[in-house]
Amino acid sequence: MRDSKIKMFILYGLAGAITAISVLPILWVVFGAFKSDIGMMTLPPVAPDFADWSLIIEFVAKYYPFIFNSLFVTIGSTIFCLILAMPMAFGLVNFKLRGENFIADWILSTRMMPPIAAAIPLFIIFNGLGMVNSRASLLIAYTGFNLPFAIWVLMTFIRKVPKELIEAARAEGATWFQTLLYIVVPVSLSGIATTATFVFIFAWNEFLLALFLTGQETRTLPVVISSFVGTGRIYWSNIAIATLIQSIPPIIFAFVMQRHIVSGMTMGAVKD
């Protein structure tokens, strides 16, 4: 009896410690967004004033162009990525191509390269094109980086679309493109939503390429956050606010997408 109580105590203690390690920094950041720089560092900590939005409003007023940059690049690359990946995945699944397995593996292999290996060549390429310090360069780079992943994930979802549906559409006079657009896309919406969520989060949080390819005006939010660590001073309050803002869109996006991830979309299509 005593033994099991001690066991439980240790177990709960450990669980509590692990939870604290993961939750406390988040809480510190969220609370920090409602405190001043000095307030964040005082011991014992002072309570945040959740009614006081002045620092947050001030931050948004000053840094909204960078929030917009982040949104533009992320949403843009997510859309481009899906538009490009969908036909590619459909083709790889449905057409018998010479060396299709090689193509599929090769596409994935580009994902294995560390991004830093691509960062400098990309900088040189975009510099040559006069596109450094533009949102477009980042949009293109993110689309390219996410494409292999998106193709692979979409391929697994497209494989689940019953073959007869595609054949029925073809027999009814639909071209391959119409079959993709009117049948495969609606039927694999859940897969598209899943893929979009991952692509969105990757692009939204990406830091390295953004650091290389953006300039003063075209910076994205992660780059801006890093700039708050100065040589003389660290702007803790700004970091906290920016981090809070940074974490909101993926949460909203995931929530919205979750509603579209309807399981059993193909129910009733074919006899199971």
């Binding site: 027999a171 119409q178 299509a269 006899k271």
Partner: protein, 354 residues
């Protein structure tokens, strides 16, 4: 409406020859059934006609037009799948109208044609429903509706009824026959169910291992099979087949029993390798006959009985069909007399001699 011709059509998957050179003329307005055991290539042949598979060799002509290299979208044929293949994200109305919308018909025309098709199949009340809210029979009707609405040159059915329960299958069978009579469009129908084949077809194509065994009307196929495969495939219960040798005006069945066979020329009898007789051509009598038979198994069907009987000297049991008032039980004996004029003999290659 269309005439369809297959000229030396071949299909190989890798190194496997699935279709081995098929020549076939399908008449305009005909109801043609492909039948055969699984793996005989009947579905593949249908998919080749539809364009879902590419022909390896040979050509397919629809209405004087060579469609061999055309995609399915340009062949103007309609296919009904075994699995229905309804679009799950569309209502019944949208499902039926999909082909028309793709073809660029205006909204009013699509709406009108969809309604016509729905009325024909009595599914007007289901138009706003999704496939998942329909029963199997209703789904099959929608699938047929989707085919009708486009007024195709020909309908291709790939085992459309095999997912339905028995009663519904009989009903849908009749409806498809009626549909064919009212629209008179060429229909090609694939099935492994010989009852479906016999009851629906104008002509039946019996396939085996990618080759045509025989093309004939249902009754001709039953009465005059060209070879031992067709003879055994068509008919239920199947024809009794006994290895035999020819002798003087008689057959020596199983090298053991002699059966007088005087109605044929001697040279034909000499070639006999297999003796075939249908279960209904074995007469039962309690008084006397040629063979004494002992009942091994009885299957009662109400209107008739099927017996499996053992005859001394024969290595295999025989199937006998009877509709006499007397029912024999397991272990009972009776006399059997084969109607030799109705029987068949096949040569060593399996071709019918008589």
């Amino acid at each position: 409406m269309a005439k369809i011709s297959l000229n030396k059509v071949e299909k190989t998957f890798g190194s496997i020859d699935v279709i081995k050179g098929i020549d076939l003329e399908i008449k305009d307005g005909e109801f043609l059934v492909f039948v055969g055991p699984s793996g005989c290539g009947k579905s593949t042949l249908l998919r080749l006609i539809c364009g879902l598979e590419e022909v390896t060799k040979g050509e397919i002509i629809v209405d004087e037009q060579n469609v061999t290299d055309l995609p399915p979208s340009e062949r103007q044929l309609a296919m009904v799948f075994q699995s229905y293949a309804l679009y799950p994200h569309m209502t019944v109305r949208k499902n039926i109208g999909f082909g028309l919308r793709i073809a660029g018909f205006d909204k009013k025309t699509v709406e009108k044609k969809v309604l016509e098709a729905a009325k024909m199949l009595e599914i007007e009340d289901l138009l706003e429903r999704r496939p998942r809210d329909l029963s199997g029979g209703q789904r099959q009707r929608v699938a047929i509706g989707r085919a009708i609405v486009r007024s195709p040159k020909a309908f291709l059915f790939d085992e459309p009824l095999s997912n339905l329960d028995a009663a519904l299958r009989v009903q849908m069978r009749k409806e498809i026959i009626n549909l064919h009579e009212s629209i008179k469009t060429t229909m090609i129908y694939v099935t492994h169910d010989q009852v479906e084949a016999m009851t629906m077809a104008d002509r039946i194509v019996v396939l085996k291992d990618g080759e045509i065994m025989q093309v004939d009307g249902p009754t001709d196929l039953y009465r005059n099979p060209k070879n031992v495969f067709v003879a055994s495939f068509i008919g239920s219960p199947t024809m009794n087949l006994i290895p035999t040798a020819g002798a003087d005006n008689s057959l020596l069945l199983n090298n053991a029993i002699s059966l007088p066979y005087g109605h044929l020329q001697q040279e034909k009898i000499q070639q006999a390798a297999t003796f075939g007789i249908r279960p209904e051509h074995l007469d039962i009598s309690s008084k006397g006959g040629i063979w004494e038979a002992k009942v091994l198994m009885l299957e009662e069907h109400g209107s008739e009985e099927f017996y499996q009987v053992e005859i001394e000297g024969l290595s295999q049991p025989l199937e006998v069909r009877s509709n006499s008032s007397k029912i024999y039980r397991k272990g009972d004996t009776f006399w059997l007399s084969p109607q030799v004029e109705q029987s068949f003999i096949f040569d060593a290659e399996g071709n019918t001699i008589s």
